[in-house]
Symmetry: C2
């Protein structure tokens, strides 16, 4: 009878599940977690310590609370990420706090007083940096938008008025989606028409607001924020924020220390009382952290990632009776594990 | 400077925001929450007390913890909902517990011992009930899939091979999506070809696994669960579960008492120790609850809901610089409020 309690979970675990050899041999269609567990060692990519941002909250009782953020790779959001490196080097966040927890939305941290002086030399990043111009070679992934096809120029011939102009590759917020360097991205397109021939070309590419992604709070446009005020997504992906706020990374471990915090009772989930705020002891780049735990992510260019993504979109393992036939990008979280 | 802290929130609040008259006059494009706040009284639909399932958890300190679930209307999932009514009438859940909290996934409750006898007369519901055959008139909504168009038969003419067979209305998990009676639904389609004319007709329709939706845990197929073991979604929509598990309702108030619980440290987020489980004091249908708070939802057939959904897909209020141009169904939560 124990099965009844556990099977819903087996059905859809987002984390990699342990694979028992005897189970594996029996299964024609492995679950996503089993594909990840069986990935080859060389399909995992080490995350450089200098690309980690390590945030230690005040312990809960005697329990330490550490959240580890992987910063995004170039060419995405590098202006803000440069600021964040400076803020961490200046120990700017030490003594600040978690100030806002809004259910199904975000946890936000920074200086609650908004009076703390910022380090000198922070860049003012323009809004144009919310997305990046697409260039061939930027996306080495073989896997885009639920289909295994390259995100290169798509040429289609237009004969009628009732068809949409291009295939929708499964992202209501863009033309297609893909992954670069372990991060989820969405693309827009441009179109050109020559007689009956219509050419669709990827245009801009930007990171997407999935669960655990970390972004930069800002004031009204043209302000784009410095990076001192950060938030992470703890609910359904608020994709309408894409291209409106800078995304700089994602929480790869310890998000439960943020997502399970009591919800703020003030407007927008802000804590109303000083004592509700969770103190931040320190935020450091990984290379400044003693005895740092190292991590690696499953290369989003690997064959195992393609198989994993395909299995996320079409679950064929025993629990499932109806594979979905598709997936949104935020339902294909990039697997991360501690480095052995 | 206070703005900097609050504006991210203004940008994307899922709950209705208070509207200040002077702000409203200034704004050409109201935010979704402002549209909801301005909806006419007759656009709100009262939820019958008998369609509410009220779950009281053990208080946290002196703080009561109540979660209120709205059960789905006919014709969806009625077999399981009938069982749930019987289980509540039998006070079956009293003394059971929350047993599982998996981050970015589900909170699950029921009898941890799996030995408690079920009431007699529970229906065994077939898998075919995971979805419902589409019938004209089933969807009165004027709003489907991010476009204002009826979810009726779509006829398109096929001249080439490179176009997809039908417009994708924004749901990677179905042909289109819509709302019925305050609930989010996805549709599949059938196609018939006659010469160059291709007719697309909606086929099946089913509820979708959005944040806060409540479903029925089950064992391996052909088991479909009784309704005694329930879960709610507390993370990004696990839409791959659609059509694989019965959905019976959604949490309309108090989900924070579930979503902010400590994550279970056992496999799949199960609590490992008896004392971690949160006791359920009682679960009752609303009509059995003294001094019941009443609720109403914004009619998904109303003009205000259409405007709200459109604004969710195309944010034009001051914070936004780039409207998304689309939305997934789970990013358009149906507004609910306490009845005055």
């Amino acid at each position: 009878m124990f099965k009844k309690l556990t099977l819903l979970a087996c059905a859809a675990s987002i984390a990699a599940l342990p694979v028992h050899a005897q189970d594996k041999e029996k299964k024609e269609f492995p679950a996503p977690g089993e594909i990840v567990a069986a990935a080859k060692a060389q399909e995992w990519v080490a995350i450089a310590p200098s690309d980690l941002l390590v945030m230690d909250l005040a312990p809960l009782g005697e329990k330490p609370r550490r959240a580890v953020i992987q910063l995004m790779p170039a060419p995405f959001s590098q202006g803000w990420i440069g600021n964040i490196r400076k803020l961490a080097a200046a120990k700017w966040w030490d003594g600040t706090s978690i100030n806002r927890v809004q259910d199904n939305y975000v946890v936000q941290w920074g200086d609650a007083t908004e009076k703390k002086a910022l380090p000198e030399g922070l860049a003012v990043v323009p809004e144009s940096e919310y997305s990046t111009r697409f260039a061939p070679g930027l996306i080495p992934s073989q896997w885009v938008g639920g289909m295994r096809q390259p995100p290169v120029t798509v040429v289609s011939r237009r004969h009628g008025n009732l068809y949409p102009e291009a295939p929708n590759l499964g992202d209501p917020y863009g033309y297609a989606y893909s992954f670069v360097g372990g991060f989820p991205l969405s693309l827009s397109r441009t179109e050109s028409v020559n007689g009956t021939e219509r050419t669709i070309t990827p245009d801009r590419i930007w990171p997407t607001h999935c669960y655990g992604m970390v972004g930069v709070g800002r004031n009204l446009s043209p302000d784009t924020g410095t990076g001192a005020e950060l938030y992470t997504v703890i609910g359904h992906a608020p994709r309408h924020l894409d291209r409106n706020i800078a995304l700089v990374g994602r929480v790869i471990e310890g998000i439960e220390h943020l997502s399970s915090l009591p919800r703020g009772t003030g407007p927008l989930g802000f804590y109303e009382k000083e004592e509700e705020r969770v103190p931040i002891l320190s935020v450091r780049l990984g290379n400044e952290v003693p005895d740092l735990q190292l991590y690696e992510y499953l290369s989003t260019e690997s064959a195992s990632f393609a198989a994993y993504a395909d299995a996320r979109a079409n679950r064929r393992d025993p629990f499932f009776i109806k594979p979905a036939g598709g997936a949104d990008i935020c339902n294909i979280p990039v697997p991360v594990r501690r480095k052995q």
